[in-house]
Each structure stands twice: as structure tokens, then as C-alpha cells.
Symmetry: C2
Subunit: 295 residues, 2 copies
């Protein structure tokens, strides 16, 4: 049966909302909370009931008022807020990248389900979705085969990435001054500079910024297939480097500087400069990944 992770996540979020209120203040309507929390009203009501049961709020006729600051310890732990399907993703990545699997390994749905402690349905669904990352392959009426997180994989990945990203970057040369993208590029540059200034402490924040940066560039001319491919890239970087921390700080610092150079090139509107900066960054990212895969 379905887990109540949505409820727990909403509950945790609600704690933050309540913290902004004063004692005795009235809570927003269920509908308003629904919008804020991004869940259904059904779940909002369940959260409110939970809050009332804990004495954090009190129902008075048709309104609810806050009567006690919620404690941080009331929060549900992070793991319980992740849908089973999300947990499976992490488990699988760990299984894969920790080296339990070498290229050609057969993947057994039942065995994975046992190992991860979930139903086979979930594993099966996950594998179906995961197929798009190009790391596994299905054989009719049999299981899946793990193709390996190999240099070949990285090269094929980057061949496509280069095509897509160069395509988007070049379009900046013809982008009118008035485009709202330029403003977002400015914001992006600021974020990079900020991170760079505090790189020693915050270098781990780069992964997420990287993904946002590349998605922004792509957004000049949206294409669903390119966007979908960015999920592949994001997955690779997110998980691979999560299990391979070597030189992380240095790696990220270099990448930030390359991003800044690319931003400058984009703003110059000069196709040749854009090409150069973009290719430089992609080449460097590819080499870094390859080196890291080869150990």
C-alpha cells in the first residue's frame, strides 16, 4: 500500500509555515495552504489534524489558530519523506556505482527487490524509467543487463551533450537585447561569483548550480528532447560525483571559471568566442569525467 511520504513532507513544510506566525494568530485557509504546500487539500487536512493532535494548533469553529511553536524535533526524518520509488533510485545508484555491478552484469528484478526491501513492481517501474539513461538494456522475457558506467558511455554522452549545448549557446548570438534571458544570465553570473568567493566552504553546492546553468542555456529555444537529455547529464554528475569525491573542490572551481568565461562569451554575441568558450568547458568536463571513471 501507498506510503504517506507526501503527508510527512507536507507536515515538515507546514512547521516552517507555522513558525512564521505569532502565537494565537489564525492560520491561512485550507485552500491557501494547499497552494503553498503544493499538495491536495486532503493532505492539508491530514496535516492540520496532526498539528491539532500535537497541540500545536487548535480548532475553533471553522478556523484554526496557532497555540504553540512547533519543535524541530517534531519533524519527520528525511528518509520518511521520500517516496519508495525515490528511495529505490538511490539504492540502485549506490548498487551500481559502488561497484557491485560490472559491465555485462545481469540485473534480476526479484533479487534487487529483495536487496532493497521493496516490491518487485517498484523495481520494475524504476528500471523502465531508468532505461533512458542508457546504462541498462532490456532483453525480451528475460531480465536487464547493466552496460556499465564506462568510458564508452561517457564519450557517447558527451558527443550528444556537445551537439546540444553548442546549438543552444550559438543561438545567444542572435538573441535580442530585450530578451529576459539576459537578466537570468546576470543572476546566474552573480550566483557563480558568490560561490567562487566562498568556494572552500561551499564547493559542494556547485553540482546543483551546474545543472541550473546548463538548463538555462538550453532554455533559449526549448526542445523537449534536449531537456530530457539534461536529466541524463544531471543524473550522471549528481550520482557519479557523489561517490567519487576526488579533487572535488578543484574540479568545481575550474568549472565555475569556465562557466564565467562562457557567460562573458555569450554576452559578447560573437559566435566564434561562444564556440570557443563552450567547447573549452565541455572538453574539460569530459576529460574530468573520463579521468574519474578510469580512476
Amino acid at each position: 500500500m501507498r506510503t504517506d511520504t507526501t503527508f510527512k513532507r507536507a507536515f515538515n513544510d507546514m512547521i516552517e509555515i507555522i513558525r512564521t506566525l505569532d502565537l494565537g494568530e489564525e492560520l491561512p485557509s485550507e485552500n491557501a495552504l494547499r497552494a503553498q504546500l503544493g499538495v491536495s487539500r486532503t493532505t492539508v487536512r491530514k496535516v492540520l489534524a496532526g498539528m491539532a493532535a500535537r497541540g500545536i494548533i487548535i480548532s475553533e469553529g471553522h478556523r484554526r489558530i496557532m497555540c504553540e511553536q512547533p519543535q524541530q524535533k517534531e519533524r519527520y526524518p528525511k528518509e520518511e519523506t521520500l517516496a519508495i520509488s525515490e528511495q529505490v533510485e538511490t539504492s540502485f545508484m549506490e548498487w551500481m556505482l559502488r561497484g557491485d555491478a560490472s559491465p555485462g552484469t545481469e540485473i534480476n528484478e526479484t533479487e534487487l527487490a529483495r536487496k532493497f526491501g521493496v516490491a518487485t513492481t517498484i523495481v520494475r517501474e524504476f528500471l523502465n524509467r531508468f532505461q533512458k539513461y542508457g546504462l541498462i538494456e532490456k532483453r525480451q522475457n528475460a531480465g536487464w543487463v547493466f552496460k556499465g558506467f564506462t568510458a564508452g558511455f561517457a564519450l557517447e554522452l558527451f558527443e550528444i551533450r556537445e551537439m546540444f549545448e553548442m546549438r543552444s549557446a550559438r543561438l545567444f548570438a542572435a538573441l535580442p537585447d530585450g530578451s529576459p534571458i539576459w537578466k537570468q544570465i546576470q543572476v546566474m553570473r552573480a550566483a557563480h561569483l558568490e560561490l567562487l568567493a566562498d568556494i572552500d566552504a561551499r564547493y559542494q553546492d556547485f553540482s546543483e548550480l551546474d545543472s541550473r546553468f546548463h538548463r538555462l542555456i538550453t532554455a533559449v529555444a526549448p526542445n523537449r528532447f534536449i531537456e530530457s537529455f539534461q536529466d541524463v547529464i544531471a543524473m550522471v554528475f549528481h550520482y557519479h560525483y557523489q561517490w567519487n569525491k576526488r579533487d572535488e573542490r578543484a574540479r568545481n572551481e575550474v568549472a565555475i571559471k569556465e562557466h564565467l568565461a562562457l557567460i562573458e562569451a555569450l554576452e559578447s554575441r560573437n559566435v566564434a568566442s561562444i564556440d570557443r568558450a563552450c567547447r573549452l568547458h565541455l572538453t574539460s568536463a569530459r576529460e574530468t569525467l573520463l579521468r574519474s571513471i578510469m580512476q
Copy 2:
């Protein structure tokens, strides 16, 4: 519970194998049949048992001999040889392309399962796999949305297709004389000429040839992401034109000629000619699809 479509398909295939034997001749071993039929020995044995039950073959100690020509009417009908998941694909495509769905339509797993007469699990699994075609999108904790088989879709599709195909075609310019691909190209040219010579009767065979041709070009330098994208293209052409037969003969004749021109360009090894022929074909294919979508 699982359907026995594998058995039925193997049974039909076995009929063809038996037809090549003489009365009283001994059948190949179970293992040999397994390899020929491409199924497990378990299934082979089930098929053999079925044949024996119908008196087509007879077991004599540890060998089986053929004792009666199987009738064509013994064959299981085509529908029964398709796995449920394959049937769902067809049903869904029909539902989508017949116009039951307009852009923005919400897709309801339960309803589709009812409509198609299958379990929700199957529909769910199908939708997960189908997601890669870029026509549907999932919303968290809610159903799917059909994004529409629109002009926008076609344009995004062709933008990628152009990048990928030009990339592969250009690589031919540097392909050594000795590459086995050239021979395959020759075979491909012959197949095109043959089809062209008999175009009035066989124009419907083009769809499959088209897919093979483009996959061959891509095969110069394999890339799993490009290959996966070709599934998207194949799906679009296969199903879309299956429900939109207007000008099919003329369309296909034009495409065949463009393919032949591209083959010639590839063999010339001249990048400029290759570019021109490739772009010409893709542009024409795009316009044809767009016209067809717009009706």
C-alpha cells in the same frame, strides 16, 4: 497472470519448420529448436507437446518424428501472439492518433486500463516507457498529460533528427574504402531500386525500409542516445502514417529518390554534397509531416 503469447508465437514458427521436413523425418533436438525459435527449451517442449497432441508429430522413445503436415489453420491468430504490453501500445496509439485526445488531455491510468481491457499495472508500465517519445508528461502524484501530436512536436523532433543525421552522414566522407558499411550501402541502394521499380504495388513497404536506412547511416559511429532517438522517429512514422494514408504512394516515391540521392552523395565522399542531400531529404520529410499534421 502471464499470457502464453511466447508459446503461441513459437508454435506458429514451429509449423514453418516442420513444413520443411518430409513425412517420417526426425525433428531436430530440443536444443537446436530452441536456438532456431529463439525461446527457452521449456517453451520448445510445450510446443512439441502441443504438436504431439494434434498428431502432427509422434514421440518415439527419445526422438520425435513428423507424421502429418500441419495445416495453416492450426496457427494461432496474430493477436494471440502479441504480449499484452504490445497490444496496449497499439491501443494507446489508436486512442491518441484517432483524435480521442487533444493537447492537454489528462490521461487516466484506470480509465485506459478499463478501456483497453488490461490491468492498470500494464498501462502504467507502458506510459513509463512511452514517456521517452516526448508526447506525454507525468505530474507528481497525479496522472499524465498528453502534450499533443502537434506541429511543435514535429519541429522539435526534426531539430534533433537533423543534428543527429547530419553528424552521421558527414562521417561517411572520412570512412575508409575497406569499411563493410559500403557494402551494406550497396545492398540498401539495391533494395531502394527494387522497391522503386514496383512502387505501385509495394509502396507500403517503404516505412520499414526507411527506418533501416536511417539506422544504417547512424551505425557508422554507434551512439546509444542516437539509436534510442531513432526509436522515437520510427514510432512517429510508423503510427502516424498508419492512420494518415493521404498521398502515401507519392510521398514514399519522393523519399526513395531522396534516399538514392543521399546514397550517391555519401559515396562521393564530398562533405558539401552529403550535407546538401541530407538536408534536402530531412527538410522534405519535415514538411511532409507538418503538412500531414495540419491536415
